[in-house]
Symmetry: C2
Subunit: 84 residues, 2 copies
C-alpha cells in the first residue's frame, strides 16, 4: 500500500481570505512573528501496490480535473514515504 | 524568510465525507486504482528570519488551538525547505 499526497494551494496572486482570517486571529491569541498565512488543501490517495510513474501521471490528471481549480490553485504531487 | 507547513488531517477513525466524495467521483471520471482518499488542510506560515525550535513549538500550539480540532484531527508541523 502506498500513499500519494496532493497539496493544493491558492496561487500566490490570488487573495486567500481563509489564510487572512488565520493571520488576523493569531495576534489576538497571543501568537506573534507570523508575517503571512496561506490555507490550502491536502489529499492523501491510497493505492494498492507500488506507485509507478504512470500512477503519478494519472494523479496529476486527477489533481488538474477534480482536486484543484487550475485557474486559481497550484498543486503538487508527491509520494509519501511513511504513510500514516 | 522561512515557511512552516502545518498539515491537518482527519483522524483515521473519523469518517471523512469529503474524501469519500472524491473517492466516489474518481471512477466516474475514468480514474481507477485508488482504494482510499482522505482530505485535510494545509497551512503555510511565513516567518521573518530563521525557524528556531521555539518557533516550531509555538506553531505546534497554534495548530492545536486554532488550525486544527484535536478531537477529530491530527496535525503535523514541518519546515518547508523550498518555500514557494
Amino acid at each position: 500500500m502506498a500513499t500519494v499526497v496532493v497539496d493544493v494551494m491558492p496561487k500566490p496572486e490570488i487573495l486567500d481570505p481563509q489564510g487572512k482570517a488565520v493571520l488576523g486571529a493569531l495576534p489576538r491569541l497571543g501568537f506573534g512573528g507570523v508575517t503571512d498565512v496561506r490555507q490550502g488543501k491536502r489529499f492523501e490517495l491510497t493505492f494498492e501496490g507500488e506507485v509507478t510513474d504512470e500512477i503519478l501521471a494519472e494523479v496529476a490528471q486527477m489533481a488538474e480535473t477534480l482536486l484543484s481549480n487550475p485557474v486559481i490553485e497550484d498543486f503538487e504531487v508527491r509520494v509519501e514515504a511513511d504513510a500514516r
